[in-house]
Amino acid sequence: MLVGLLNRGPDIAARLASKIEQIEGARPATGSLDIGLYRDDIGLREPSPLAPTSVPAVDGKVVVLVDDVLYTGRSARAALDAILDHGRPRAVQLAVLVDRGHRELPIRADYVGKNIPTRRREAVQVRLAEVDGTDEVLLGIEQPATEARA
């Protein structure tokens, strides 16, 4: 089962599911997970807008969490808590499109699209045709005002 982390994760998860279907002939279940209520910086920033979570039954399944960028690892930590509130998966793995380094927690990805070495003050933004009209990964000098959900 592929579970995408909002906002970009669910679209990447859907694309992965389609690829797997082409190769294996069977499409894995997909879901989307909002981690806003599980973040560790609540109280340090303005409350982020919430989005509906929709996750199929996870008990006994191998759940692959899918996100666009892996950075500090804090989102992945929050996602672990969120998914475990849905049940007891057989295993939880992590797939990301971009791993930009600078981990602040002992977390690593099981599947990485591309490793991109960055400096902390650089911004990495993944844009997808589904939401942004175009597929691209942008590297900027400054962090945008709304900190990336990495």
Partner: protein, 312 residues
């Protein structure tokens, strides 16, 4: 986001929209919201209720607990209030214990406002005297939004004892912020004299208003306030203004019937509200928890309110 909610007028249109949007996310978990979120761990909410309440207090308590906040319930009976402690001293006592938010209901209009001046914690007005009940208005707006896409031009008839009703005031101002048109209906003795300055229509003729209304909002006849002769008898009130099956038949097909509870069956509403097919009264109660979760998330989930300079 605001640190305190004393009046529905503390919120602009965007603020109300934000609360309704977050509430919809909590609602999506369904009425069986079984999941408990860790979001407000370490925050403490005090329910400070000087007046009886079932649904408001319970709904705040559930909302806070589902976000993992600690909840302390304080009711006037069985506390130091019975020994003569003043609101100010009680507030100071509670504050000294370190709380983040006080949810206050009081029989005196303006009590939460005074409380707000005395404490640094946030204050939510959960009903003060004949003044306001902003969270009731929010959950009612949420319920209306489930049935109507837009508030612009939505026709809402508020029927009954507007004079004594804190729900009515919050309702009117909230609806106006969102762009709805409000008509007040009821005996002239129960219309507040200042209503004309509120930009609403006022009429005693319920039968003329019902066919045009999108929402009929029935107010509770406050029997405990009826000694002063505002209406001759309750039976007469029921005959002239009560919503029975015959009057409900005058409503537009997609109109909805609302009531903040508790109902006086057979007075402002039919003895068996089930015979009113367009009633959404039970979903109002169900929506209360999701709306209050949204409010608590936005008020307590931001930067620590106590570390900031007060906004107001």
């Amino acid at each position: 986001m605001i640190a305190s909610l004393l009046s529905i007028r503390d919120l602009d249109r965007a603020g109300i929209e934000r609360i309704l949007a977050e509430a919809a996310v909590f609602q999506k978990d369904g009425p069986r919201i079984t999941r408990k979120y860790p979001t407000l761990r370490g925050k403490t909410v005090v329910n400070l209720f000087y007046e009886a309440s079932t649904r408001t207090r319970t709904s705040f308590e559930l909302a806070a607990k589902r976000l993992s906040a600690d909840v302390v319930n304080f009711t006037a009976g069985g506390s130091a209030v019975e020994k003569g402690e003043s609101l100010k001293d009680t507030a100071r006592t509670i504050e000294a214990m370190g709380v983040d938010l006080i949810v206050c209901r009081h029989a005196s209009s303006g009590a939460p406002h005074r409380l707000h001046e005395w404490v640094s914690a946030g204050v939510i007005n959960a009903g003060d005297g004949m003044h306001e009940h902003p969270t009731q208005a929010l959950l009612d707006l949420y319920t209306m939004r489930q049935h109507f896409e837009s508030f612009d031009g939505l026709r809402v008839a508020i029927v009954g004892d507007v004079l004594h009703s804190r729900v009515a005031r919050s309702e009117i101002w909230g609806l106006q912020t969102m762009g709805a048109e409000v008509t007040l209906v009821g005996p002239p003795t129960l219309m507040p004299p200042q209503a004309e300055g509120w930009g609403v229509e006022v009429t005693p003729d319920v039968d003329a208003v019902l066919p045009k209304a999108d929402v009929v909002y029935l107010l509770r006849m406050q029997l405990e306030r009826m000694d002063a002769g505002y209406v001759p008898t309750l039976r007469e009130y029921a005959r002239l203004w009560g919503l029975d099956a015959a009057r409900a038949a005058m409503l537009k097909e997609d109109a909805i019937i609302m009531h903040p509870g508790p109902m006086n069956r057979g007075v402002e509403i039919a003895a068996d509200p089930a015979e009113l097919p367009r009633s959404v009264i039970t979903s109002q109660v169900a929506n209360g928890v999701a709306v209050r979760m949204a409010l608590l998330y936005l008020m307590l989930g931001g930067r620590d309110a106590r570390a900031e300079v007060p906004v107001e």
